[in-house]
């Protein structure tokens, strides 16, 4: 398939355009909401902060949620792209393979059994959960004689997902006190999280980004199949392990900060591959930029659709992503069954 941007010039243009788009969306995201704040006031709040209501809103809620949306969107998209490359399954994503559910379960266990509240302990629990879920799904997907096939991986993902989310629900119901606060988190949202809480996660995400970029050449070779990759001198086991580390860092971190947000990790890599082809040296940066853009768009529209009532970004991405997912299922399902 011919990609949309075929020359390096166009690819750079698309990337820079994406960065500008994200910049624009960030500005919109800071100024739009139940209370609309004009742009010059936004600038003002950075240059000379005077403690007025508008300035407080900007500094304590709008800016953190915007930054969190950017980081989470980028993380989820890259994690999705990495999963799709490693499993050679176009429908892999943190949500469909149960990684989100694993992270959620462990965080809820931490909150309800050990009364954990500190973000750093929750984040590490998120990582552990994401790692366990990925390992379980990968192991189950490759069990049996046929080895790792897309359908088995997808089914294993949905089984693990069903198991983990039922357990999560059960725990939540047993401790009703925690439910109210956790419910919003479990839907996936970037609202109401202060920057101090999210800051400890960002280094992990940045590490994930850098690792993904470093791996991109090897991932390209891995896409040709294990045999070819070994023949070309790639240590496939090592690369797969490092790829899994990227997935756990990014998906686990994203869930820990924003809760399970579905379909960003699925949809964005597909659009990116459609635009720039399958060279992961381009795919990963594009995913970072456009994943952030998609989450910002979802978040902003969630704020605007209804008066006085925000729709959590996790719901918005599901509503945007489902038709696309169904389209993919219709197109790919026939070939693989």
């Amino acid at each position: 398939m011919k990609e949309l941007a075929y020359s390096p010039g166009w690819k750079w243009t698309g990337l820079i355009g994406g960065v500008l788009l994200v910049g624009l969306l960030m500005v919109v995201s800071v100024s739009v909401g139940i209370m609309r704040i004009p742009f010059d006031v936004v600038i003002d709040s950075f240059t000379n902060f005077n403690g007025s209501n508008q300035h407080l809103i900007i500094q304590t809620t709008r800016v953190p949620r915007t930054l969190i949306a950017v980081m989470t969107g980028g993380s989820l998209a890259i994690a999705g792209a990495m999963m799709q490359a490693l499993t050679r399954n176009p429908l892999a994503s943190p949500a469909t393979l149960g990684v989100n559910a694993g992270a959620s379960l462990f965080i809820v266990i931490g909150v309800s059994f050990w009364g954990m509240t500190g973000i750093s302990s929750l984040v590490s629990l998120g990582f552990v959960g994401a790692a366990i879920a990925s390992f379980a799904v990968y192991f189950l997907g490759s069990a049996g004689r046929g080895g790792l096939t897309p359908i088995k991986l997808t089914l294993a993902g949905s089984a693990i997902w069903a198991l983990f989310s039922s357990l999560t629900q059960g725990l939540l119901i047993m401790n009703e006190k925690g439910l109210e606060e956790l419910l919003f988190w479990l839907t996936g949202s970037v609202e109401g999280r202060s920057l101090e809480l999210a800051m400890p996660v960002f280094p992990f995400m940045v590490a994930g980004f850098i690792l993904a970029f470093l791996l991109s050449r090897a991932v390209n070779i891995l896409m040709m199949g294990d045999d070819v990759a070994v023949g070309l001198g790639v240590k496939t086991g090592f690369i797969k392990l490092m790829g899994s580390v990227v997935i756990v860092l990014l998906a686990g971190g994203a869930v820990a900060v924003a809760g399970p947000i579905v379909f960003v990790g699925l949809v964005v890599p597909h659009m990116v591959r459609w635009a720039v082809g399958t060279d992961h040296r381009w795919v990963f940066p594009y995913c970072l930029v456009y994943g952030a853009a998609m989450l910002l768009v979802a978040d902003i529209s969630g704020r605007l659709i209804m008066n006085q009532q925000e729709i959590p970004v996790g719901v918005m991405t599901a509503l945007i992503g489902t038709p696309f997912f169904i389209y993919l299922a219709m197109r790919n399902g026939g070939e693989r069954a």
């Binding site: 429908l91 949500a95 469909t96 189950l140 069990a143 049996g144 004689r145 046929g146 096939t149 897309p150 359908i151 088995k152 997808t154 089914l155 294993a156 949905s158 089984a159 693990i160 069903a162 198991l163 039922s166 357990l167 629900q169 059960g170 939540l172 119901i173 047993m174 009703e176 439910l179 109210e180 419910l183 919003f184 839907t187 579905v262 379909f263 009532q309 729709i311 959590p312 996790g314 719901v315 599901a318 509503l319 992503g321 489902t322 997912f325 169904i326 993919l328 299922a329 219709m330 790919n332 399902g333 026939g334 693989r336 069954a337």
Partner: protein, 350 residues
């Protein structure tokens, strides 16, 4: 040659293996035993023989009160919804010819959930009671399930349903429905949140006679109707070409079966909520016990489904006596590993 019992009148025929008949009788006995134990266990223990006495009208007044007003409705809801979900799954597995199909995995339960939660949320006075009659809930659940089933059907018209696509579409619908449900819960009053979450996981907590009386007619109409059509299900299993060759109107039957299966799911889900994996597990276990002829398979699935949900509920309310763990948690804890086992087993077929 196995010994078979056949029963034919005009327009109806049924073929049941002699051995399967015994299995069915034993299953029915086990189900009755579970009902007695389940009714007896609780804050106040009533011995199974005393429960039986109450059923027969010989019990003492105190036992009769506890059993009839407090515990029996709950056990009956578990029994009926377990049977409904199991039969619904058995039908889907025949129609789609995929051993992994079940109403929850292909998103039909999700559709029912959105509709039921919406009714619970938007038509309530903010405290405890609904402002519309209670029978709206199963009707809405049925409607929601029907919408998803119709969409699935429309999407598969063009190229047919392959197992893989079915699962994928199911995941897609499930996720979308979950998003809608969360949206409804967030828009509604906060005190509904806990109730709705419990409902989604599947619980028979707080069942009453009114609910039993609403769900009972659905089951009383649809379950016998499906037994009546069992022979067509046998034909469906063989695939389109064979079924057409045998003179069945394949397409019409399939629509009919999808409708019946959806109706059963809607009614089961309406009060018991999204109890997962029953529709998958019960038919499989039944197939192991009585073979795959639907004359015996459907009743066996229904009995196993009831036993499964009743036991899950029993565990849920006795394991941590202070808390209620929804039955749906236990069905998932048992069901998910079994699903994974099936997945590994089915490596040659998919």
């Amino acid at each position: 040659m196995k010994k078979m019992w056949s029963w034919r009148v005009k327009g109806f025929s049924m073929l049941v293996e002699a051995k399967a008949l015994w299995t069915l009788i034993i299953l029915a006995a086990i189900a009755l035993l579970v009902v007695c134990v389940s009714v007896g266990v609780g804050d106040m223990y009533i011995a199974p023989q005393d429960v039986l006495k109450v059923f027969l009208g010989w019990g003492n007044a105190y036992h009769t009160l506890v059993v009839e007003t407090l515990r029996l409705p709950r056990v009956l809801i578990a029994l009926l919804s377990g049977a409904g979900l199991a039969v619904s799954g058995a039908i889907l597995q025949a129609v789609i010819r995929n051993p992994l199909a079940s109403p929850d995995l292909i998103g039909i339960t999700g559709g029912a959930t959105v509709a039921a939660v919406a009714v619970l949320t938007f038509f309530s006075d903010g405290a405890t009671s609904l402002v519309v009659p209670l029978y709206w809930v199963p009707l809405a659940a049925f409607g929601g399930a029907m919408v998803v089933a119709l969409l699935m059907y429309l999407l598969s018209l063009q190229q047919g349903i392959t197992p893989f696509r079915l699962i994928l579409l199911g995941i897609g619908f499930y996720t979308a429905m979950q998003a809608f449900t969360n949206l409804v819960i967030l828009l509604g009053p906060e005190i509904r949140a806990v109730q709705s979450k419990t409902w989604i996981t599947g619980s028979v907590y707080g069942s009453n006679w009114e609910q039993v009386m609403i769900i009972l007619p659905w089951m009383a109409i649809f379950l016998p109707l499906i037994f009546f059509f069992a022979r067509h299900l046998n034909v469906q299993q063989l695939g389109d070409q064979v079924a057409t060759g045998l003179g069945g109107s394949v397409h019409r039957d399939r629509v009919l079966f999808l409708f019946l299966s959806t109706a059963l799911t809607g009614a089961s889900v309406a009060f018991a909520g999204g109890i997962s994996f029953v529709g998958l597990l019960a038919p499989h276990a039944a197939r192991k016990l009585v073979g795959s002829s639907y004359g015996a398979l459907l009743p066996a699935s229904a009995l196993l489904g009831s036993i499964y949900v009743m036991l899950a509920d029993l565990l849920g309310r006795t394991l941590y006596a202070a808390h209620e763990i929804p039955a749906g948690v236990f069905t998932a804890v048992i069901g998910a590993p079994y699903f994974i086992y099936l997945l590994i087993q089915s490596r040659n077929r998919t």
